[in-house]
Amino acid sequence: MELERNLAAVRKQGLGVAAISYDSVAVLKNFADRQHITYPLLSDSGSKTIRAFGILNDTVKPDTAFYGIPYPGTYIVNVQGKVQSKYFEDDFRERVSASDILIKESGRQADAARSVSQTKHLRLAATASTQVARPGHRIVLSLDINLNPKMHVYAPGVQGYIPIDWKVEEGPAAKPHVFQYPASQMMHLKVIGETVPVYRERIRMNREITFGPEEALKPLVTPAGELILKGSFRYQACDDRECYLPQTVPLEWHFHFEGLERERVPEELQRKLR
């Protein structure tokens, strides 16, 4: 499970980890053994804690085995139990991945699925918060751009030059989320007597994407089990003497596809209708 994979990184942030569901201790033990889960899975069989938090999903009918489930989400609380941040998704089939939460909480750069390109003007490293593509997971994609000395590129909103443009392919595989370009600097161009918004030296950008449902991802997985996300970075670089032709750098993020767990606990442990 994804949280287990990111456990060391979460603990490095000084955080304990626990997960709560309405499953019985027996179900949780079975699941933990099969999936090699080492962090605490708490059993809230009567959904008393789920109710106390106020997150009982009351759109589920009381006469089904699913009654008692929560609206799924994650809290980060301090030692006194005060909420520092929370992550809840609108669509029940989506969830903010642990790798995404780690990037947001730690301020670290994403460092998985790394690929590097070099042009005449800059060096570009594309990374992701995780190497694994799981249906419905929201993850972070990062671009880390180092401009050659004396080079600058232009920020969105500039007139007369091509601004940087980071595109991520939108389709059934992934839904890119809206993101903001980082703050730019104003630079005065003496020759034309204008002040323009630019980026110099280094640009670091993060944006989130949510992987589509399993039925949308599966057809796109290669025989080697890879899912590839494509994108592009467009820019126009100038130095102190001249401007160069706009460039579009193709980008790729390679993920290992992991489908949803389908294996159930033994029949005698499965939750029955009440």
Partner: protein, 89 residues
């Protein structure tokens, strides 16, 4: 008195159906449809305590039967607490 579905409920149901159909088919979902779907499904959507608020006390058994609460789960900087639907399905 015969039950008449209020207009807005029927409209919400239609929005949820369309959203679900598109997602299942891998078709693109416009920002407008997504926003309408979020509103339709989130009428009583609750996400619990907000940043700054205290979570309720709890004491629950873990997969080994040991009783756990905030004090024996926290690290020095606190606790990452995940609520999920089920380990089984």
């Amino acid at each position: 008195m015969a039950f008449e579905m209020p207009d807005d409920l029927a409209e919400k149901a239609a929005i949820m159906r369309e959203f679900g159909r598109r997602r299942a088919a891998g078709e693109p979902v416009s920002a407008e449809l997504h926003a309408a779907h979020v509103n339709a499904t989130n009428d009583r959507y609750a996400t619990g305590p907000e940043p700054g608020q205290r979570i309720p006390d709890f004491a629950l058994p873990d997969q080994n039967g040991a009783l756990r609460s905030l004090s024996n789960l926290s690290g020095p900087n606190g606790l990452l607490l995940v609520f999920y639907r089920s380990a089984d399905w």
